[in-house]
Symmetry: C2
Subunit: 253 residues, 2 copies
DNA sequence: ATACTCGGGTACGGTTCCGTACAGAAGGTG
DNA sequence: CACCTTCTGTACGGAACCGTACCCGAGTAT
């Protein structure tokens, strides 16, 4: 990670969605650093130091099967946070690595626990984005089972581009094949199809979306569904949850 | 559902894991009814009336894709609850149906909200089982992508048997094919293999596990992984979370 | 008893993706 | 410059699973 942290000036949609009267205090505990691809941010039984709010970096939650094969089970970008489950006291169960380099905002675990206690808005947003993540992960079960690889490729490229806030980023076919749970050669085939269709360009570890409309038309329904759910989680659900949170506190008192 | 509810006398592992000093009050708000296969317990924008704690019934969380195909994205049995997300104020996003008939304990949504406020133990257990469910759903992404159908069949049959607390239950190949996102004919092939291996018997909408050891050896690693995580969520995590919950309430006060 | 519905066995050609392998091209390194 | 590593293109046989279809037997309704 970058050795000289800077202050936070926006870019993580979860932090930016905190009600303005609470935001300054929460954001005050945050610092911005760079992160490189393949850096591990969380792992079972280790790395509890930081809660991570990606800005234009993208993280992957991964698992390793008994035969040693690694595959992606979730993606975390500027719509959410990694390590937030610490706030609920449960152990970290999955390894999280940086997939696309960029900047992250991070908060020490202790500061985060404190912030969740103080800010009802942060608490509500953490819960609603976790719920959106559950919805998305559920969708991936079906998507990976029934949709063709080319569609899944397109979906993945779009979702990562949205989270990285750019149309071009570092990515090799090999890395993408791990993320999608298929062979590298199969990814190369799908990538070539998407290129021939005029949707993307790529070379030696970089991809660029050249025609988003075409790429969206190639992607399965799961892309737009996911985008909509994350938007909703950061918008209307947050308000609903905020109301509930206040009610619960009143109930306890 | 059954028209004459009876009182709760144990059987849902989540309810039974509530610390004894709080359990009686929570369980007092619960009633037990029968439920038949294909009954809808929750759906987006409707059916907020009850929170459901399965006893020996098994529920499926399902989704319908744009082409009309339905597939399972989660299973809920005696280790958890359906509709608990209501406690967090978020909307119900998925349809939940009864997959294996049996008994459920249910609590009105209002009573449930009240119970979560009063019982720190229930609150902690709801959160830890939700976390276990996330872990399991993540595992299914990879499982459905890389494991062979016969292994997945075995895994499914075992997990449902554990939750239904019996080795024989109603199930057609057709229903199972929807759950696994494959053709009915493919399920018939896999079922025949498992039968020939001496693991199961089945006929006209019923399955029976005749040799659990064989079936476990045919199943992928995901079965034991899932079983272990659900056990842990109801055991040690609950304790951890309970500590955290008390700390949070203190912080708010 | 007869007709009908439902659950399951099986088949056949086709597609997707796998496992493996090898070669070429781009870029970094000494 | 030569060398090496990384990244991508491509091929080939094979396995898993699909779409579709047809059949049969068991239970159910009339």
């Amino acid at each position: 990670m970058n050795a000289c942290p800077t202050s936070y000036e926006g870019g993580n949609r979860l932090l930016d969605a905190i009600p303005s009267d609470e935001r300054a205090e929460v954001v005050g505990a945050v610092e911005v650093v760079g992160i490189e691809s393949a850096t591990v941010t969380h792992a079972p039984d280790v790395s509890y130091d930081w809660v991570v709010f990606p800005i234009d970096a993208v993280l992957s939650v991964v698992t390793t099967l008994a035969d040693g094969e690694t595959a992606e089970v979730g993606t975390i970008g500027n719509e959410g946070a990694s390590g937030a489950e610490i706030a609920f006291g449960a152990p970290v169960l999955r390894k999280t690595i940086c997939q696309v380099e960029g900047r992250i905002a991070r908060m020490s675990t202790m500061a985060f626990l404190d912030a969740v206690d103080r800010s009802a808005g942060l608490d509500a947003l953490i819960r609603s984005t976790e719920k959106a993540r559950m919805f998305f992960v559920e969708q991936m079960i079906v998507c990976n089972t029934v949709h063709k690889l080319e569609q899944r490729c397109a979906r993945w490229l779009l979702l990562v581009a949205d989270r990285a806030s750019r149309e071009e980023y570092r990515l090799t076919h090999d890395f993408l094949s791990i993320m999608l749970g298929v062979r590298r050669a199969t990814v190369s085939d799908a990538a070539k199809s998407l290129h021939d269709a005029g949707a993307i360009e790529y070379a030696r570890g970089r991809v660029r979306i050249v025609d988003r409309a075409i790429l969206e038309s190639e992607a399965c329904e799961c892309y737009k569904l996911a985008a909509r759910v994350f938007d909703a989680a950061l918008d209307t659900w947050g308000v609903t949850l905020l109301g509930r949170k206040r009610r619960r506190i009143a109930g306890i008192r």
